[in-house]
Amino acid sequence: MNKVILHIDFNSYFATVEQQANPKLRGKPIGVTGGDRMKRTVLGAASIEAKRFGVKTGMTPWEARKLCPKIIFVTGDSGKYLEVTKRFINILKSYSPYVEVFSIDECFLQCVGISVDQCVSIAKEIKLRIRADIGEWITCSIGISYNKLMAKLAGSLIKPDGLVVIADQAEAIRVLGTVELDEICGIGRQIKKRLNNSGIFSFKQLRVAPLPALLASYKSYGQTLYNMSRGLDYSEIIPFYEREEVKSIGHRHTISRDTDNEAEIRQILLKLAELVARRLRAKKLMGKIVSFWYRSTDFTGDGMQTTIALTSDGLGIFQAGWEIFQQIWDGGKIRMVGVSISNLRPQNPSTISLLPEIKRNEVITKALDKVNDKFGEFTLQRGILLDSTNSDRRFKL
């Protein structure tokens, strides 16, 4: 049975949602930032109006203001964006159960047994429903095609508020002849550079490259490149209810100013470890491999991992991680730190400890979780985390 894929992508998502909430921001160049840490933050999104000045996601506020002096910075609010995404997914689910959530602002929708023309009608209806149910300022670009790769490319061709169809492979080859190599999902700056170094600057040239040569240069990814140049993509929609298992859980934090203060770094790492442990316990998981890493002022850094007994205890994660952190940290100033845990296993069945102190800790942790679930994160916390003289020690993630 024939299938048609729709790729739906919100335009300038975070910025548009902010403009939807506050009409005073509409039609104005805005940048969504991390808020009160303006010196360290980068733009999470730029509005369509800011993009016209060359402002891009990932720029520092300083760079953005240089390009667009009238830009308005708005503090990002993840609650707002998640809510809009939830409503958006619910709209899509009413058309097909095959909805893949690709990121917070883009989804794939697969329709089976209907024509491309019918899909165009569905796409128009989705746009209307987004305006009616979520907000009149919210727009999205929709690409329709015979596979995910081409649907995503089609969706990127007209922004904002586009609707583009790439109906078949012949049309795909024509469109690929009009776009740059890195305009397709899966070819980044590095791959583009490598292709350019091999004398390949277009999809037409990539199609001429023999498969064995691509495999020799790019290993298995050579096959992907070979397929991309021909508009082929065999990846299936992964519906939202078949989400992949969590492989690791991590948190990182950019400190408001570079620091080499050991006590401060310890405190931030412990807080990150506690957050990681809370998420582990919420998912009823335990982890085995603890990784701690940092980034210095000059954006270089180091990281290391260690294996411990399965745990979901924040202090246990911190203690193992701090030991390795001391081995990799040269004592220099640090900009960012991160903690993660992998090799995850379900909490049950686990070996029940016979040691009373471990049993006692489990009881305390359960009680702490109950209180924090009811009254909010860090309502009850370790004494060492109570010091709030520095804003970084009170950070929320």
Binding site: V17, Q20, A21, N22, P23, K24, D77, G79, K80, L82, E83, V84, I134, G135, N372, D373, K374, F375, G376, E377, T379
Partner: protein, 81 residues
């Protein structure tokens, strides 16, 4: 934009689609909600808070409703000077 957390009195409508602020009182003024632009929710522990981003006479306000205490606060204001 002025960010604040000021308890306020609100008149609400219970419509088919749910609860909606209609009028609120701030600084001795009665402000009529002309349009609800966006509603979103957040959790603080087990408490669910609703946030209504609304417009009145070209001004922007965000009202917060604590579903546990059943109380309203004015969270943000952006008015013409």
């Amino acid at each position: 934009m002025l960010e604040l957390l000021e308890p306020i009195d609100v008149w609400v409508l219970f419509t088919k689609t749910g609860l909606q602020p209609s009028v609120f009182f701030w600084k001795g003024r009665q402000i009529k909600v002309e349009k609800v632009n966006l509603v979103h929710t957040t959790h603080n522990g087990s408490t669910l808070d609703y946030h209504f981003s609304v417009s009145s006479r070209g001004n922007f306000y965000r009202l917060g409703f604590d579903t546990n205490k059943l109380k309203w606060v004015l969270e943000a204001v952006e008015e013409d000077e």
